[in-house]
């Protein structure tokens, strides 16, 4: 029973790390996509720049997936050798997932908004696309920091 609960907590960590940044990213990408579709309707040539902007809020989902993957490796979910975790270990792993789970979720939406506004820049001044990308990429900082924290925490757990 003891090992069972620990494993569940570990799985919960994996789920959180993958689900919430994924949701955030899909909202963000969706927003940019819709906004971009408006521009492309009028101006199909801008598709390339729009696609780049649209991809930016997608990174949080990848970070989340990466964190989830690390936890999976940690608990041996890959390759069939699933370890029994104590409640303490399981809770540690779950908490390690929290930074990217929360920050990834929120920052993806925020980044989506910035990128959607950046679509406006691309629509008006295609030559300033670099600036639109930089503005959106600034939000990325915090997602990267959260990813780093999560990964360090995951590695620090002794299983």
């Amino acid at each position: 029973m003891e090992g069972f609960l620990g494993t569940i907590l570990g799985f919960l960590g994996v789920a959180l790390a993958i689900i919430t940044p994924g949701i955030g990213s899909s909202i963000g990408v969706g927003l940019v996509g819709r906004s971009g579709a408006g521009v492309v309707t009028e101006d199909p040539d801008k598709f390339g720049s729009i696609l780049l902007l649209e991809a930016i809020p997608g990174t949080q989902g990848i970070y989340g997936f990466l964190t989830g993957l690390m936890i999976m490796i940690k608990i041996g979910a890959l390759g069939g050798g699933l370890r029994a975790l104590t409640v303490g270990q399981g809770a540690q792993l779950m908490m390690s997932a929290m930074p990217i789970a929360l920050v990834g979720w929120i920052s993806a939406i925020a980044q989506g908004r910035v990128a959607a506004a950046g679509v406006g820049i691309v629509a008006k001044r295609p030559e300033e696309m670099g600036k639109a990308v930089i503005l959106a990429a600034m939000v990325e900082t915090y997602a990267v920091l959260a990813l780093l924290a999560s990964l360090l925490l995951v590695f620090s757990v002794n299983v």
Partner: protein, 363 residues
């Protein structure tokens, strides 16, 4: 409502469309065009492609055609067309005005006004239905005027729950206009006055029902600035404060009673009233422009420039109904400038005069 993702697509599209608006350089080329034909040719290079087929004489059709197309486009892609197209309703109120006046002029003054004159195709409502409503109102004005009263009030209250019922709002405004017309001894001016006031009330109700702060602020600013213009004109004409009470628009932020209290004061005292409002700067600039040029249109132009700036602020908001609203207003503004240029060119006015008349509004 800082951010509204529902508007992502329409905002993106509007941002792309804004690129195709006529820029200052092209406006300058138009002003300096040799004659109406060249003007039409320059215009046909832009979104106003109709200009090539119709030619300069039918510039009204060219401009209206393009505006109607833009309104229809935005309506079809906007998640909340009532909100984004709220100011299009002014054309519907205008149509009700034109229809009522034409019918009443025929009924009461024996003027044979041509059917459908003064009506614009820019409104969102079906003209035939509006015409039928106006027919009913004019007929009701004869006998059944009294019976409309109480029951209609209940209908009013129910209707304000649903401001998207523009048709209802226009019909109701029309009924009030006819009542005021009858009450003031068949005075056609009251039709205009009532419908103008009701149109601002409609804008306000739409803003309130959507909790749209930007629109609410814009409606207030529009009402206030228009009221400033109204005061200037009425004082010049020599109308009393009593009459001004019927003309001033509702829903402004400046207290109407306070404004009317100083209405009769001499110029300096009257205009200093605005020192205590947020319209200190525009009023000051407008007065200076009027003093410098000695023309009333200078005053009007300054006020209208302020209005255009207030509307353009919507474009700064990244996502929501605001940029769409700002785009539509900018297009109406653009149409306005084009109309001025066409009138100037068709009448062979010198380029400087056309520019002066234009740049006042868009310095």
């Amino acid at each position: 409502m800082g951010f509204d993702g529902r508007f992502a697509y329409v905002v993106g599209r509007v941002r792309a469309l804004e690129n195709r608006m006529i820029d200052q350089a092209r406006f300058n080329r138009m002003i300096d065009a040799e004659g109406p034909e060249e003007l039409a040719r320059i215009l046909s290079e832009t979104e106003y492609s109709l200009a090539r087929d119709l030619g300069p004489e039918r510039y009204e059709d060219v401009i209206d055609g393009e505006l109607a197309r833009v309104h229809a486009l935005i309506e079809s892609i906007s998640p909340d067309p009532v909100l984004t197209g709220v100011f299009r309703a002014r054309h519907d109120f205008h149509n009700m005005k034109a229809l009522l006046k034409a019918k009443l002029a025929r009924r009461d003054a024996g003027h044979a006004v041509e059917e459908g004159s003064g009506v614009t195709s820019l409104g969102g409502l079906d003209l035939a239905r509006l015409g039928a409503a106006a027919d009913m109102l004019v007929a009701a004005g004869d006998e059944a005027q009294m019976s409309l009263g109480a029951e209609a009030l209940d209908a009013d209250r129910a209707a304000w729950q649903r401001p998207e019922d523009l048709e209802g709002a226009v019909a109701r405004a029309g009924r009030r206009a006819v009542e005021a017309y009858e009450a003031h001894g068949h005075d056609p001016q009251y039709i205009d006055l009532v419908l103008d006031r009701e149109s601002f009330d409609y804008f306000y109700q739409v803003a309130r029902s959507r909790r749209a702060d930007f629109l609410m602020g814009l409606v207030r600013t529009m009402a206030d600035l228009t009221n400033i213009l109204i005061c200037m004109r009425l004082r010049l004409i020599g109308k009393s404060a009593d009459f001004a009470r019927d003309v001033l628009l509702p829903r402004g932020s400046v207290d109407r009673d306070a404004l009317l209290a100083v209405y009769g004061e001499p110029d300096d005292a009257f205009w200093s009233f605005f020192k205590h409002t947020s319209y200190d700067r525009p009023v000051d600039q407008a007065l200076r422009a009027r003093r410098d040029s000695g023309s009333l249109s200078a005053f009007e132009n300054v006020i209208q420039a302020h209005l255009a700036r207030a509307a353009a602020e919507g474009g700064m908001i990244d996502m929501g109904y605001e940029p769409v609203l700002a785009y539509l207003m900018a297009r109406e503004d653009e149409a306005d400038r084009l109309r001025r240029i066409f009138v100037g060119k068709l009448n062979r006015l010198p380029a400087e005069i056309v520019r002066e008349r234009l740049c006042g509004t868009h310095a």
